[in-house]
C-alpha cells in the first residue's frame, strides 16, 4: 500500500479517477460508452478525441522541459501549420482528393519542423534563454499565419482533411489514434533508446553532461524540433476539426495548458527527470475537468474559477512539502536521526560505517 502511495503517478491518477467518479455520481451517463454504426460513443470517448491536440503539444513540451527549457511558441506553430495546410487545400482545384491533402500535410509539417528548428537554433546554438527564444515565435508566429491566409479565416470543405479530426477507425476516433501513436513513438524513442536518460542528464546538469561527452547541443535542438513537429500535427487536427484556419484562435493559450499538463503529471519545471505517462494523465485531467465544467453545468462566468480551484487542489496534493508535513504530523515526531526517509530501500540502514 505504501508503495502505491509513494508512486510518482499516484496523485495525478487519483485526481483523474476522482473527477470521473464525481461526474458519474452526479450523472451516471458520464461513464456510459455505447457502440453505434461501428463507432464508440460517450463522454469518455469524446474526452479522448478532444484531448488529441493538447496531448501532442504536451508531449513535445515534456521533452523540452526535461532539457531545462520551455516552448512558448507551440500555439503559434499550430496556427501556422493550420494556415499552410488550408491555404494549399483551398488553392487546389480538387480539395477533396487525397493527393491534395497529403501535399498539404507534408508542407504544413515541414514548415512546423522548420519553426521548431529555428527555436532549437536560438536555444542550443545561440544560447538564448528558452523563454525568450520561443517568445519571439509565439508573438511573430500568428502574424505569419495571418500573412499566409491573407488576413482571412480560410475555410475549406475537404472530406479527407476533416476525417483526420472527426473520422473513426476501428471503433475509435482518428484524432485519438494519432495522439496514441505519438505517445507510443515518443515513449519508445525516449525509453527504448538512450535518448531519455541523456536528455535527463542534460536537463539535470548541462555542464557535467558536456564534459561527459553527451552531445547536449544536439539533444536540446532535437527537443525543440520534436516540439515543433508535434505542435504542427496538433495544428492540423485543430483546423481539420473546425475546417478553418483561424490564425488568432488556433492553439490559443495551449502553451500554458501544455505546461500545466506536464506539471500535473509530475515533471519538474526545473528540468531533468520526466515522465511521459505523467503528462498523458495530466492532459486527461485537464480535458476531463473541461468536460466536467460543461457536464455539471457550471455557468460560463464561473468556469475559470472552478477550473483554477481544482488545479490548485491537485497541485497542492502533489506537493512533497505537504506530504512531509502530513507524515510528520502522523508519525508523532520520530527521533530526528530517522526522520530522513522512512521506508527507503535496503542499503540505507547499514551506511553509518566510515568507508575505509
Amino acid at each position: 500500500m505504501k508503495k502505491v502511495l509513494r508512486h510518482r503517478l499516484f496523485w495525478p491518477i487519483a485526481a483523474l479517477v476522482t473527477l470521473i467518479v464525481v461526474n458519474t455520481i452526479v450523472r451516471p451517463q458520464f461513464i456510459v460508452v455505447s457502440v453505434r454504426d461501428g463507432q464508440l460513443y460517450g463522454v469518455l470517448i469524446d474526452i479522448l478525441r478532444t484531448s488529441a491536440p493538447l496531448m501532442l503539444v504536451a508531449l513535445g513540451m515534456t521533452v523540452v522541459i526535461a532539457t531545462r527549457g520551455i516552448d512558448l511558441s507551440v500555439g503559434a506553430i499550430m496556427a501556422v501549420s493550420g494556415a499552410v495546410a488550408l491555404t494549399i487545400i483551398d488553392a487546389s482545384s480538387d480539395p477533396g482528393s487525397i493527393g491534395t491533402v497529403l501535399l498539404a500535410l507534408v508542407v504544413a509539417l515541414g514548415v512546423s519542423l522548420a519553426l521548431g528548428a529555428w527555436n532549437g537554433l536560438l536555444v542550443s546554438v545561440a544560447g538564448i534563454q528558452p523563454i525568450i527564444a520561443t517568445l519571439v515565435l509565439m508573438l511573430a508566429g500568428r502574424g505569419v499565419a495571418l500573412l499566409i491566409t491573407d488576413g482571412f479565416i480560410t475555410t475549406v470543405n475537404s472530406a479527407p482533411y476533416s476525417f483526420i479530426a472527426t473520422g473513426y477507425l476501428l471503433f475509435l476516433p482518428v484524432a485519438f489514434l494519432i495522439a496514441l501513436a505519438a505517445i507510443v513513438v515518443v515513449a519508445l524513442a525516449e525509453r527504448r533508446t538512450a535518448l531519455g536518460v541523456l536528455t535527463e542528464a542534460v536537463g539535470i546538469n548541462p555542464q557535467a553532461s558536456r564534459l561527459a561527452g553527451v552531445r547536449s547541443r544536439g539533444i536540446v535542438f532535437g527537443a525543440y524540433l520534436a516540439s515543433g513537429l508535434l505542435a504542427g500535427i496538433a495544428g492540423v487536427l485543430y483546423s481539420a476539426n473546425i475546417r478553418a484556419a483561424d490564425a488568432n484562435a488556433a492553439g490559443q493559450f495551449i502553451e500554458l495548458y501544455a505546461i500545466l499538463a506536464v506539471v500535473l503529471g509530475g515533471t519538474s519545471l526545473m528540468g531533468g527527470k520526466f515522465t511521459i505517462a505523467g503528462t498523458v494523465v495530466g492532459v486527461l485531467i485537464i480535458q476531463t475537468l473541461d468536460k466536467t465544467i460543461l457536464f455539471l453545468g457550471v455557468p460560463p462566468a464561473q468556469s475559470p474559477v472552478f477550473f483554477a480551484v481544482v488545479v490548485i487542489v491537485v497541485v497542492v496534493l502533489q506537493s512533497p512539502r505537504l506530504h512531509k508535513w502530513i507524515r510528520d504530523l502522523t508519525s508523532k515526531r520520530a527521533p530526528r536521526a530517522n526522520d530522513s526517509q522512512p521506508g527507503t530501500p535496503v542499503g540505507t540502514q547499514n551506511k553509518v560505517e566510515v568507508a575505509s
Binding site: R192, A194, V197, N205, L211, A337, P345
Partner: protein, 511 residues
Amino acid sequence: MPADTEVPPVVEMTGVTIRFPGVLALDDVALTLRPGEVHSLMGENGAGKSTLIKALTGVYSIDAGTIRVAGADRVFETTADAQAAGISTVYQEVNLAPNLSVGENVMLGQEIRRAGTIDWKAVHRAAAEHLENLGQDIDTRSILSSHSIAVQQLVAISRAMVLDAKVLILDEPTSSLDRHEVEQLFTVIRTLRDRGVAILFVSHFLDQVYEISDRITVLRNGRLVGEYLARDLPRGQLVTKMIGRELDELAALATVSERIIDRTGAPVLKATNVGRRGVLEPADLDVYPGEVVGLAGLLGSGRTELVRLLYGADRADSGQIEMKGEPVKVTTPRHAIENRIAFSSENRREEGIIADLTVGENIVLGIQARRGALHKIPRGEQDAIVSEYIAALGVRPADPNQLAGNLSGGNQQKVLLGRWLATAPELIVLDEPTRGIDVGAKADIQRKVAELSAQGLAVIFISSELEEVLRLAQRVVVMRDRRRIGELDSSRTDLDGLIDYIADGGEGNAA
C-alpha cells in the same frame, strides 16, 4: 591584546557529532571561542572544518553534543537562528546581493524607516558609518559587483557588524586576495578583535594563520586533535597534527613515484605550446604510457586551465596536440573522448556528478554518450559494467539504484572514476580527485591510480596536496602565474624542494 586570563567563552561546542549517509563527518568534536581572540580552525581537506562551521551557523543540525552561546544552550534549526544569536559568517564566495548598492547590502533587512517608508539617506549614512568603523571609505551608492572581492568581503563584514555579531566566522577569506588586500583584511580583523568580537578564521595558508591567530584548533578525519595557543605550536608540529597517521597508511604507495618509466616510445599525449590568451601562456606537456605526471602549483596557477585546454573543455587558441605520435584536433570534450582522453573535473558537483540520476546511470553515462543516443547499452551489459566498477572501486553503498547525489563526496568521486574507466581511456586527467573527501576514500583513489598506471594507463594528476602529488607522480610539472615554470623528477626532490620550486620557480638560483 589576547590574554590567558579566563574570559568566559562566547561559544562552547562540546561532543558535536554529525552523521551523513556513509560518513561520520564529525565525531565528538569540541570548539571554544573566546571574545577578543582570533581562533584558527585547521585541518586537511575533508577534516570536518566546514561541517563544524555549518553546525555552528545552523546549516546542519547536530546528531549529538551541545552548543552553548553566551552561556546558554542553543539549538540552531536555521541560519537565521544562529544569526539572531550573534553568529555571522563571511564565506569565500561572498553571499551578498551583487546588483544592489554597497549601502543597501550593508543595511539589508535593517533599513531605517521613517513614516513607513525607507529613509534612503539615513540608510546610506548609517552604512557609511559602519564602513568607517572598519576604516573603510567606500561610496555606499556604488553597485557592489563593481568592487573587488576584497572590498565585497569587507562589506560582508560590515554587514555582520550591523547585525551586532559577537562571533565572526571567516571561511577561507584570503584565497582570492592579493598580498595588500590580505593586509587590509587583517587590519580589520584586528580592529574587531580588539573590540571584543570572537573570530573564527579558516585558511590553508600557514603564514597567514600564524600571523593572525591567537589560538588554533586542529581537526583530522572528523575528530578533534586538540586546541593550542598559536605561539606554543611550532609550524612543523601543526602539519604533523593535521596529516597524522595518513602518512603511515599511504606509506605503502611510496614506491609508485620511483617506478622507472619507459620513455623510448611515442608519448600517449604530447602537447606543444598549448595556450589561450588571458588564461594560460603556451605550455608543453607530455605523458608516456604507465606514467603519472603531477601538476603542481597554487590555486589559479594555470594547472586546471592547462588540462581544460587539453581536454577541449575550453578552447585553446594556440598549440598542437599529438596522441601516440599522430596530430589530433581536440576542441571539444567529444574530440577528447574519441581520442581516449578522460577528464574528471575539480568541480565534482557542478561538472561531474549528475545528482538526480542513479549511480548506475552515472557510471554508464560516459560510454553511452560515446556510443550515441540511438545505441542504447542493453540492460544486462549495463548491469555488468556498473557492478564491475562499483566493486572495483568500493563504492558505498554498493547500490546501483541509489541517486548519485545522496552519496558522500568520496563515493561520488569513485563513481566518476568508474564512469571514465568504463570508457577504457588511454589517458586520464584527474583534477583534485581527492579534494574534500574522507581519508579512506582518498587512500582508495590513490591506490587505484597507482594500480591503473602500473597497467599502462597514462595519468595527469592535479592536487593541492603536494605530498599526494609527490607520492604518485614520477614527474611533477610546476605551474605559476598561468605559466609552466618547470619540471621536477619526483625521485630527486622532496616536499620542501617542491615548495621552494613553486615559490621561486627555478629563479631562486639566479637571485
